[in-house]
Symmetry: C2
Subunit: 198 residues, 2 copies
């Protein structure tokens, strides 16, 4: 849902983009995703442009700078997070805590499978997250509802609050990215879920 494609320079410039420009934009994002996921830590804008089959200038026409490009990956990921949260709110059969846990796990599985976005999450500062501001806002609304239900069901610790959800996700995400021997994000999540349980 909500596959917004606004130019990142201005918040609300919703002119529809020429067909070739649209295609280029898509290719640039795809190229960035592939290259950022690679083993080499620092990917150059020239490489992204080359792999996308465009000139560097075109990359900068679509994304004001490198952080904006990473920001787009983050934005798309939050879109997917929100999808997972909505799913959890819909499937109410299992119980409020289970639904919350499932949403967290689904989000982190998607992060674990996507090294490029993880790179954007980690290496980028606040500038990167600014590009996903509205998606993050919706994320908080959905998270709020999810924990409200779990609290009502008496299954979640009283002092657990909505902002703890992105916080623990950030923590687990960091450990996925560092990934020392013996580290296992699944156990990390399980541990935190134990701590969340009322």
């Amino acid at each position: 849902m909500s596959t917004k494609t606004s130019t990142d320079t201005e918040l609300e410039s919703e002119r529809p983009l020429r067909a070739d420009a649209r295609r280029n934009r898509e290719r640039i994002i795809e190229a960035a995703r592939e290259l950022f996921a690679g083993e080499r830590p620092n990917v150059q804008m020239d490489e992204v442009a080359h792999r996308a089959g465009v000139g560097v200038g075109t990359v900068y026409r679509h994304f004001s700078d490198k952080e904006a490009l990473m920001g787009e990956l983050v934005r798309q990921r939050f879109d997917l997070f929100n999808e997972n949260l909505r799913q959890a709110l819909a499937d109410e059969h299992p119980g409020a805590f289970t639904a919350l846990a499932a949403a967290l796990r689904a989000n982190l599985v998607s992060v674990a499978e996507d090294a490029a976005t993880r790179f954007a999450f980690m290496s980028g500062g606040e500038r990167v997250f600014a590009h996903a501001a509205s998606e993050m806002e919706e994320f908080m609304l959905l998270a709020n509802e999810l924990i409200r239900r779990a609290h009502l069901a008496g299954e979640l610790r009283d002092d657990f609050q909505a902002s703890d959800i992105p916080m623990v996700m950030c923590g687990i995400c960091a450990t996925i990215d560092v990934s020392k021997p013996g580290w296992d994000w699944q156990r990390h999540l399980t541990l935190i879920l134990h701590g969340m349980r009322a």
Copy 2:
């Protein structure tokens, strides 16, 4: 303890350094600490040199590259972590789990107070941690003993293992560094401690 000051290029070159070189080295580390802790995300090697009152070449004489300089900050921090773990092993009055919790809290307090080291922890890849290899090894030995005791006391979940200690520290450390509104590393730690409890 163990204020090792080996040149970072070779693992075990223990020649004692001329007095002025030693002083310069100290100043460079101090300058890096001050600048990395500043608001601007990317500090230049020239700035570090200037603040330390030396030429850039001198910085590179002491540290093979920028990551080695960050690595030294990480190394010193692990020295301090180890000190905290030893302390926890010595103060056995309170109980094994309490000792473990105190060690974790002490480590994270020191991280929370030191933006420069946090920067080094986060922005650096494995290359940075390689500089603290032996300190990290000792850290694991101490952590092992700490959790062994907590397991014996029956106060720690059976499936909690030694490598989970740096893992959760890494996770909390990441959330300290990002620090969105509503995030609180103290509650993050408390949450995890709840999950650790047998």
